[in-house]
């Protein structure tokens, strides 16, 4: 229940931020609306909806959800997976496609559900090779080569 208010407050704050950021853009008039017209109107509408969702009582459908709450996720595992994806974006152009894909696959296979080392290495290697062949050879995508040259 508390999260509902938090989301509403965050949305309101975001709308205010957008409205302020759009301040630099000319609004124009109703006769000749300019570049700032649409974003400012949208930001105002978002403020209104955020306010309404803050004061709105829970509907039937939400109340039903409350009796069957969504189980809390394993935040640590999700954070690790996201960190791995961000790491891939950081090292892709430096390490090249092949090594980055191999490392990411290996890491994710262990992070999602612990696989044996042999299985992990085999699947990661096969995935990196197959995806390289599909994307670089068949589809002609210019994948970053990095330090290994592939």
């Amino acid at each position: 229940m508390r999260s509902k208010y938090l989301v509403a407050v965050l949305l309101f704050a975001f709308a205010v931020l957008v409205f302020l950021a759009a301040g630099a853009l000319p609004f124009g008039t109703a006769r000749v609306p300019q570049a700032g017209f649409f974003p400012k109107v949208l930001a105002l509408l978002l403020m209104l909806l955020a306010f309404l969702s803050f004061i709105q009582p829970r509907g039937d459908r939400e109340a039903n959800q409350g009796s069957n709450p969504i189980p809390a996720p394993n935040w640590f595992r999700l954070a690790i997976i996201l960190a791995a994806l961000a790491g891939f974006a950081l090292v892709l152009e430096w390490l090249g496609f092949f090594i980055s894909s191999f490392l990411l696959m290996g890491f994710l296979l262990r992070a999602v559900e612990a696989q044996s080392w042999l299985r992990m290495i085999l699947i990661s290697f096969a995935t990196a090779v197959i995806s390289y062949v599909i994307f670089a050879r068949f589809l002609g995508v210019a994948l970053p080569t990095g330090i290994l040259g592939i």
Binding site: S3, K4, L11, V18, A21, L25, P26, A30, R31, V32, P33, A35, G36, F37, F38, P39, L42, A43, L46, L49, A50, L52, S53, Q56, P57, G59, D60, R61, E62, Q65, I70, P71, P73, N74, L78, I81, L82, L85, A86, F88, A89, L92, E93, F97, S101, L104, M105, L108, L109, V112, E113, Q115, I123, T127, S131, F135, L139, G140, V141, L143
Partner: protein, 498 residues
């Protein structure tokens, strides 16, 4: 005669070896996506969109359409065998399909699902063939005020039909519209919210955002949920329904086809709604409604027909008006625009080969799916048993490569990841991604048509009420905005009274 000539032109395009191959690939990948949990048709189309850049426009759209209706076919397999729908339009198939499987009639349920999908898909394509050109011709008289009202009504209707409270869907639509304003102003060319980032000059790319919202977010959401699934292990035989099955299913298929096609045209998740409405309708019309949910074939045939007919219907507003009505149609619009093709009232007149080729490919694709679904059912069951612990890293890696391959730009990977996290958090809070992506695509059309309308009317909003089509659409918008509020008030009153 003109229709026959057009259909002949269409088949000449669809039956070229390369288009046949892409149609087959689309149907195959679609079935795979429908069978596998973890990546829905929207995510799959978003992912494969990046691969269609170098293709001919006809091949690209033929393949993407194959994925869409293929997923509808494939989704029923998991519903029947595992009681887990491969995608949302197959949720209702679980009710009777899974029960049939438990009673040893998995073969009949799978077979009827495939035949019903084939028949309804074909009926839907015929409807599309007749209705899209008519609507396209009518829309030629549309001006900016009509297009603004149409997009406004479309978004409101989508929000109304979305799962969960309407206010959440409206908030997502507003956020999508705001994201759609990033980049160059469509009229003056002035940069907005780009903060010097080159990648953002053309706005947020549809593919990174869609893959974040529907690919990465879906995988994260699946990982967040624990639990395992058990696949129905008994051998699947007697895939061809018997005479009694056909007698019981004939009418539900016919009704489901017509209903699904009509509901598919409306904005929103057409196939999902069509399958639920068809199930409710069959139950109401049945002589033995109490048997629904216990494993009867009508409960599979009707909804499966409805969701496939709806996929064909949902192409009508996009191809004839240029207005997508769902997240997946927004991606199709993106696919066409990447090739410099603007869907809309002039689409059929300007690109007859593309339109009729696409229609003909849907006939061919539906026949291919029948071949893919029935004899290969054993393979799909095996695919279904692939552990998610292996699937999830694969999906994530392909999302990353897919986005990078668009423009060889790492910034787009960051955009995808950011929208992945955003999509995941919003899903947990009960906010859907469909209104967001649709609003993001419709945003520039909506803004341009609104500003042009105000220029025409010299700042007067009366214009929207003096033109009949506009006024009708505005009335529809107001009704769908006010109706949920009135209903809430009424239910509050009822619950407050002793």
């Amino acid at each position: 005669v003109e229709l026959v000539t057009n259909v002949a032109v269409g088949f000449a395009v669809a039956l070229t070896p390369i288009n046949l191959l892409f149609c087959f690939l689309g149907a195959l990948v679609g079935t795979l996506v429908g069978v596998l949990p973890g990546l829905g048709p929207v995510g799959a189309v978003a992912f494969l969109l990046s691969l269609t850049f170098k293709m001919e426009p006809a091949s690209a759209i033929i393949m993407l359409a194959g994925i869409y209706y293929g997923a509808m076919y494939g989704g029923s397999t998991t519903s029947i065998l595992v009681n887990i729908p491969g995608e949302t339009a197959s949720v209702v198939t679980c009710l009777d399909g899974y029960r049939m499987a438990r009673q040893g009639r998995a073969g009949a349920a799978l077979g009827m699902a495939a035949f019903a999908s084939f028949i309804a898909g074909t009926i839907g394509v015929i409807g599309l063939m007749f209705l899209a050109p008519l609507l396209g011709r009518a829309a030629l008289s549309f001006g900016p005020p009509e297009f603004f009202s149409l997009t406004l009504a479309g978004l409101t209707l989508l929000a109304y039909l979305s799962h969960g409270p309407m206010i959440k869907a409206l908030i997502m639509a507003l956020l999508g519209l705001l994201v759609g304003t990033v980049g160059m102003d469509p009229i003056s060319g002035q940069e907005r919210f780009t903060y010097g980032t080159l990648t953002l000059r053309d706005g947020f790319g549809l593919v990174p955002v869609a893959m974040g919202l529907f690919g990465v977010a879906e995988v994260l959401d699946n990982l967040a949920r624990s639990g395992s699934q058990s696949v129905y292990a008994a051998p699947i035989k007697n895939l061809l329904p018997n005479r009694r099955d056909w007698q019981e299913s004939g009418r539900p298929i016919a009704r489901g086809s017509v209903l699904g096609f009509c509901l598919g045209i409306l904005p929103g998740p057409g196939p999902v709604i069509a399958s639920f409405v068809s199930y409710a309708m069959e139950k109401r019309l049945s002589k033995y409604p109490e048997k629904f949910g216990t494993g009867i074939i009508e409960g599979v045939a009707g909804p499966e027909a409805a969701n496939n007919a709806a996929t064909a219907g949902s192409f009508i507003p996009l191809l004839s008006l240029g207005i997508p009505t769902s997240a997946i149609m927004a991606l199709f619009m993106g696919a066409l625009m990447i090739h410099g093709i603007q869907p809309g009232p002039l689409f059929i007149a300007r690109y007859p080969e593309l339109f009729w080729g696409f229609i003909a490919s849907m006939y061919v694709g539906n026949a291919m799916l029948l071949v893919l679904n029935l004899p290969l059912i054993g393979i799909w069951v095996r695919v279904l048993q692939t552990p998610y612990a292996i699937l999830c890293p694969l999906i994530l890696l392909f999302c990353l490569i897919g986005v990078y391959s668009l423009n060889a730009n790492v910034v787009e990977i960051w955009i995808m990841l950011a929208f992945g996290v955003f999509g995941f958090v919003m899903r947990r809070g009960g906010y859907e991604g469909a209104p967001f992506i649709l609003a993001m695509v419709l945003g520039p059309i909506m803004e341009t048509s609104l500003r042009q309308s105000l220029l025409i009317s010299r700042g007067s909003f009366q214009l929207f009420f003096t033109r009949p089509i506009c006024a009708a659409l505005i009335v529809v918008t107001v009704i769908f905005l006010v109706w949920p509020m009135l209903r809430t008030k009424q239910s509050e009153k009822l619950s407050g009274s002793p």
